[in-house]
């Protein structure tokens, strides 16, 4: 990985001696590659300038990544992909800065609060159980396509008050959107078409609800139609931007995390056994999955003003990339950082980011993951990876996810 180009200038920029590399983080790789890469980058360079796309700063250690998250006035969320400073989508409230950000968050936060998730849990558990029960007699499945995307999609739609059968529409849209998110040119057209499909779905859903005099019970789109921002109703574009990001952020991330969680359980029978015997450990095991198998390779921000930051001189408009995946394994921040510690206490990982943009869906995601472990281990306590070829993961420009995870188990005769 010694592709350092120079220590002086790139694109006419004086980088003050900062190392320069040229790295395309997008291609698919062997499973686990991105964590090894993040580990190596963290231990070799706390910061470097990546001369990919228009060029951007990469911060690799826990302290700098945390400072990026905690300094939103310097690091704007206007773009969160450093290779795309002016993206074709606009996520609300993800890409909104203060003071408007919190006004949008107040509208959607109650929908994803622990109380709301408690209320949704019986329905989520039922559909999780049904999926596992349908899968069990086959003695094996591709976990990624058979369960890991299907279940969070149905769970999300159920929380949003949408017919879970519409998961058939959302699953391919989510695939195509994230195929282009990493900056792969071949993925841009399917990405745009998927965005259009999702927007049209919500346009129709909003049109059907618009004339309701009061919000429909348990219906997120209807709730948003009756919400106000600074005393005015939300505009159509705000409504669509909010509903779209909820779909995209809620489905792919949980799918990715779910895949690595179940790969880990398949390869560690002692951890399966421990969770069966001590189910009270499932929440801390899920937190450790979020730390150790962080699927967000890095998180981007746009620099709002000239400033010195962790040893380099940033200019307004520069893009920065904080490698959350490596920061969560930084031995400067965690004991036994490179180990999966199933009962780790005080796990202050940044798997849900940090600061004001902390993941809106964190309580939903945690619960989905916990329920998946509970229900799967109850019905299929013993299972293995059954892949003839090595597992692969999608490129880490966006979020890592296993492209497939064949699992196998004994079916009682």
């Amino acid at each position: 990985m010694s592709d350092t180009l120079s220590h002086s200038e790139t694109a006419g920029r004086d980088l003050g001696g900062c190392p320069v590399m040229h790295r395309d983080f997008a291609p698919a790789q062997a499973a686990g590659y991105h964590w090894e890469l993040a580990d190596e980058l963290r231990e070799t360079s706390p910061v470097f300038f990546n001369a990919f796309a228009q060029g951007y700063w990469v911060f690799t250690r826990h302290d700098a990544v945390r400072d990026i998250y905690k300094t939103p006035e310097l690091f704007s969320s206007e773009s969160i992909t450093p290779w795309q400073p002016d993206p074709i989508y606009r996520f609300v409230p993800t890409q909104i800065d203060a003071p408007d950000h919190i006004k949008y968050r107040r509208i959607v936060n109650p929908w994803f609060s622990p109380r709301a998730i408690d209320a949704a849990e019986p329905a989520m558990r039922a559909l999780c159980r049904r999926l596992v029960e349908e899968t069990a007699p086959a003695g094996g499945c591709d976990f990624v396509t058979g369960f890991a995307l299907r279940y969070p999609t149905e769970a999300f739609l159920s929380v949003a008050g949408i017919d879970p059968a519409d998961a058939d529409l959302f699953v391919p849209w989510v695939e195509d959107f994230f195929g282009g998110f990493s900056g792969d040119p071949a993925g841009l057209e399917p990405m745009a078409e998927a965005l259009e499909g999702i927007r049209e779905y919500w346009v129709a859903a909003l049109a059907e609800r618009r004339s309701d005099p009061v919000p429909r019970e348990g219906d997120l789109a209807s709730h948003l139609l009756h919400s106000t921002f600074d005393g005015r109703p939300l505009t159509d574009s705000e409504l669509l931007d909010m509903l779209t990001v909820l779909v995209l952020a809620g489905l792919d991330t949980t799918r990715g995390t779910m895949g690595y969680l179940f790969q880990h359980l398949a390869e560690h029978p002692e951890h399966r056994q421990r969770l069966i015997e001590e189910p009270e450990l499932i929440p801390s095991a899920v937190e450790e999955v979020l730390r150790f198998y962080t699927i967000i390779f890095g998180d981007g921000r746009k620099v709002a003003r000239d400033a010195e930051f962790h040893g380099v001189q940033l200019k307004q408009g520069d893009m920065v990339y904080g490698l959350v995946s490596g920061a969560n394994r930084d031995p400067r921040a965690y004991e036994r950082a490179g180990e999966f510690v199933i009962d780790r206490e005080r796990n202050n990982h940044m798997g849900f980011a940090n600061g004001p943009h902390r993941c809106l869906g964190m309580h939903l995601a945690r619960r989905e993951l916990q329920l998946a472990v509970e229900e799967w281990l109850r019905i299929i306590p013993d299972f293995q990876v059954a892949a003839a070829e090595p597992l692969e993961e999608r490129g880490g420009g966006a979020m890592m996810t296993l492209t497939r995870l064949p699992l196998a188990w004994e079916v009682p005769s």
Binding site: I102, R105, R106, N109, P110, S113, P114, P283, E287, E345, R346, N347, N348, H349, F352, N354, G355, P356, R358, L360, M362, H363
Partner: protein, 65 residues
């Protein structure tokens, strides 16, 4: 027993109000409502308070007699 949340340390992980739902709750921004405040812990909530303090990733929760 009293429970204090150190405001600047609290990062909104949301683990405390999950561990002690009858004692702590979240505000509209996802943080625990009592940042920079001290509350009395009822006797039947002592165990939940200890769980919440023990789970806080930032060690922002302090228990005092």
């Amino acid at each position: 027993m009293k429970l204090t949340v150190d405001g600047p340390s609290c990062m909104g992980h949301g683990r405390c109000y999950l561990m002690a739902p009858d004692l702590l709750t979240d505000d509209e921004e996802g943080y625990v409502t009592i940042r920079d405040q001290t509350i009395d812990v009822p006797d039947d909530q002592v165990e939940a308070a200890e769980d919440a303090a023990g789970t806080c990733p930032e060690q922002a929760i302090r228990l005092t007699p």
